[in-house]
Symmetry: C2
Subunit: 229 residues, 2 copies
């Protein structure tokens, strides 16, 4: 069973600790603020109040036995650095820290911390992409300007068959799969439930409410969306 | 040309404003802290100090002309709510707000704000997934327990051909594409550059350093990784 420690129980640390615990991992949640410890103690294996800049306090919790430790402290960057240094001194197998900007990231990398996260920065970039291209609901960037995207069905191709739309011949795009809503009875009430419709075929008709999962070059996907707006 | 306003220039708001500006959008960056306005003013079209809870101040900036406005204020939730209410009163086409937790999200949705983001929460869940399954570098969740994943090549299949690995027959997984490093000369120096290797074929050999992009059910992908650890 995986053992993880999360240091810092703000919004970020809390969501990591809770998600890990929900998925069955053994979680040690740490914060120097007793209220944050209290708020999580029923949902994780162990919740402890301690100051992560105190290496003895960390050692007393057997933090060396952890598979990985996340330092999710936010505002106090000095505390992030000292906590990271303590964890390295205790030979923790895997240390993941938070950074608010490029300078902080640079310092952590120089210290040898290889996994650095900037939650607000990463989501900020994704949000900007979604603002610029609202029909792209999510995307996975790939090399050579390729990307996998999840897009709402452009109006111009709704109710047409895949053969008629000719993604590959006209746009050089490949369809991976389609997400579609089906009305089902859940708890006695009709509910819209989303499903994957398996391997799409030439005669598959695209509904206006479908979500298409595609792979292609950024500019080809952009062109496909704009031509069919 | 797209016009966006970003209210609140903490780490989150800053990365949204800067990414939008880098991609050519016209950005109005707003904060009630003059230092934050100063720090960004050379990188966006307009940077203005004002209090977003003051509807007259927002109106004076012609914020009604924006395609979308993002409220990226963090700690002060009351300010987020008042700013959102102001933007709705000014009939802004698209309002995106930040929320720190489920209760805040619920209140914003009850107000009719349809796009609510929790950057720390979203990344927290992704981080937890990456801790639980370290060979999964990134993933796109889909309905019916399917997912698209980016994984490092499991040792057990390195240097084998796709035909020999038989992803579909043995594991019910489909390969979307492969990311591979190639040595190229950049600025006169040999550099590892990552490329997509197009449509993988039956005789394609998988290198130990390849990154595989796959689609399949979560449990089948987990089994594939564990059998070939
Ligand atoms: N030295 C320390 N030892 C242990 N916990 C700490 C230490 N310093 C700060 N923390 C805790 O880290 C948590 C997160 O830090 P903080 O609230 O400063 O960041 P934040 O940016 O608001 O976080 P988030 O964005 O995750 O809500 C807080 O609960 C705080 O009590
Ligand atoms: N009423 C307001 N009008 C305009 N800007 C505001 C208002 N209230 C707060 N802000 C600004 O919003 C920005 C982000 O808020 P804050 O620093 O409280 O959140 P944060 O959680 O630290 O943000 P981040 O995680 O993005 O760094 C700050 O720069 C702050 O000056």
């Amino acid at each position: 069973r995986h053992k993880f420690a999360v240091i810092g129980l703000g919004v970020f640390g809390n969501s990591i600790a809770r998600t890990l615990a929900e998925r069955g991992a053994e979680v040690l949640a740490i914060d120097n603020d007793q209220e944050h410890v209290e708020a999580i103690k029923d949902d994780v294996a162990y919740a402890v109040q301690l100051d992560a800049t105190d290496i003895r306090a960390l050692e007393a919790q057997n933090i060396q036995d952890m598979d990985a430790v996340v330092v999710a402290i936010g505002e106090d960057f000095e505390a992030v650095l000292i906590a990271a240094a303590n964890l390295q001194e205790l030979n923790i197998k895997r240390v993941i820290t938070r950074a608010s900007n490029k300078q902080q990231r640079r310092i952590l990398e120089k210290m040898g911390v290889q996994e650095v996260l900037s939650p607000e920065g990463e989501v900020g970039t994704t949000v900007a992409e979604r603002l610029l291209q609202p029909s792209i609901r999510t995307f996975l960037p790939l090399p050579d300007n390729y990307e996998i995207v999840e897009i709402s069905t452009p109006k111009g191709i709704a109710n047409k068959s895949l053969a008629k739309i000719s993604l590959r011949e006209k746009y050089n795009i490949n369809m991976i799969t389609i997400k579609r809503f089906f009305e089902e009875i859940l708890d006695g009430k009709p509910t819209e439930v989303e499903h994957i419709i398996g391997v799409p075929k030439a005669d598959t008709i695209i509904y206006p409410t479908d979500i298409l999962i595609l792979i292609g070059k950024k500019q080809d996907i952009k062109r496909f969306i704009e031509i069919n707006r």
